[in-house]
């Protein structure tokens, strides 16, 4: 047992400390979490929350059993829609893409009846193929910005008020806290918070992508970075934007995007927002 005996009479060699595997015997989740805090102190320092979402094949099976492809197709864009919650398990190969495809088709009765969900799985396959091609370039702008600005117009770091979730804007602060506390964000919130970071705060997408990778249980270099690039416009034909009306609609009115003193940074038509946020070349 590590540390129990030392017959050499001298200090143990540092590499001997690493000769013991990590533990597998935990009485419960609390004990595992305490052990992780102890063994990975730097991770706990980044953020100490633990998600209610459990890892492992059992939890993945339970999620798979609840997948409802037609309802997913109809409601997935709403915050309380029938999203699958499978992404952390797909990311880590706990369930495979092909296995999920088969199950989804079986549940829906036909591929056509599961069209939207199959297409979302295809996005994941697509992003993986792109990553396989480009490797570490996934951190570089793949195309030029279509915002009228250049990369050097964007800040390198996320602002402190944002990282603390203390901007005073209900949508922004809620989204930051949700990510930090649960390790999960609905896709609509991911896209919108990314647009806020890049277009409203004018911060490089790389800073936002790195922030999400630290926290998302499904943090995946391919889907994450390429989606940020898509929002930014460096991997797509135009920048992604949303407005207040759309935010209120997808959140069922739970989030208004209203800031301190009643500021409404997302109010306006798309034409107005384009005018306000981007530089015309």
């Amino acid at each position: 047992m590590a540390g129990s005996t030392d017959t050499s009479g001298g200090a143990r060699r540092p590499d001997a400390l690493h000769s013991e595997p990590l533990r597998r015997d935990f009485a419960d989740r609390d004990e595992l979490v305490a052990y992780c805090r102890d063994v990975f102190p730097a991770a706990a320092e980044v953020d100490d929350h633990v998600s209610a979402t459990r890892g492992g094949p059992c939890a993945a099976e339970a999620r798979l059993a609840e997948v409802d492809p037609p309802r997913y197709g109809r409601t997935r864009n709403a915050l309380d829609g029938a999203v699958t919650g499978l992404s952390p398990y797909l990311r880590h190969g706990v369930v495979g893409l092909a296995e999920t495809r088969d199950l989804v088709i079986e549940t829906a009765g036909s591929p056509r009846a599961a069209y939207k969900l199959l297409q979302e799985l295809a996005w994941r396959d697509y992003y993986r193929r792109v990553l396989d091609d480009i490797g570490d370039d996934v951190w570089d702008d793949l195309e030029e910005w279509k915002t009228g600005y250049h990369a050097d117009h964007y800040a390198d770091e996320l602002p402190e008020d944002f990282l603390r979730g203390e901007t005073g804007n209900d949508f922004v602060d809620h989204t930051v806290h949700t990510l930090h506390e649960t390790g999960y964000l609905h896709n609509q919130l991911r896209m919108k918070i990314a647009a806020y970071v890049v277009h409203w705060r004018r911060v490089k997408w790389q800073a936002g992508a790195a922030w999400m990778l630290s926290h998302l249980l499904d943090g995946d270099l391919a889907s994450n970075n390429l989606s940020w690039q898509w929002v930014a416009s460096t991997f797509g034909p135009k920048p992604y934007l949303f407005n207040e009306e759309n935010l209120v609609k997808v959140t069922g009115g739970r989030l208004q995007g209203v800031g301190p003193g009643g500021q409404r940074p997302f109010a306006g038509s798309y034409d107005e927002l384009n005018e306000r946020l981007f530089e015309r070349r």
């Binding site: 880590h92 591929p111 990778l213």
Partner: protein
Amino acid sequence: MPITWLHDEMLSPAWLREGVPTLFVFDEEWIARERLSLKRIVFLYECLLELPGVEIRKGDVVTEVRAFAERHHADTIQTARCPLPRIKRQGEELGAQWLDPEPFVELPGRVDLKRFSRYWRKAEKHVIG
């Protein structure tokens, strides 16, 4: 005799083989570089605890996998093919044998990946029929 090096994109019992020693290494360099938070570590760990017999370590992946292979007198290091550049590099350094997961869709010939729409134009008929 082979060993299996389990990486963070293959945490499924489907990769476990009777009598094949299997190792997962928490990659300390990756954890530091991507500033993984505690909840990500706990999630990974919970996945591993449901995979019986997998030895769990942390440190430098290549060093740990090599040492594990030597301890088990292994002549082959098997792992799953994956697009993550970090895993590709480590696998190449280890001379790993890449096992192919079942593909989501098999697309013959070159696939234009410039936009999803171009990929989907080709993939749709295979996925949806």
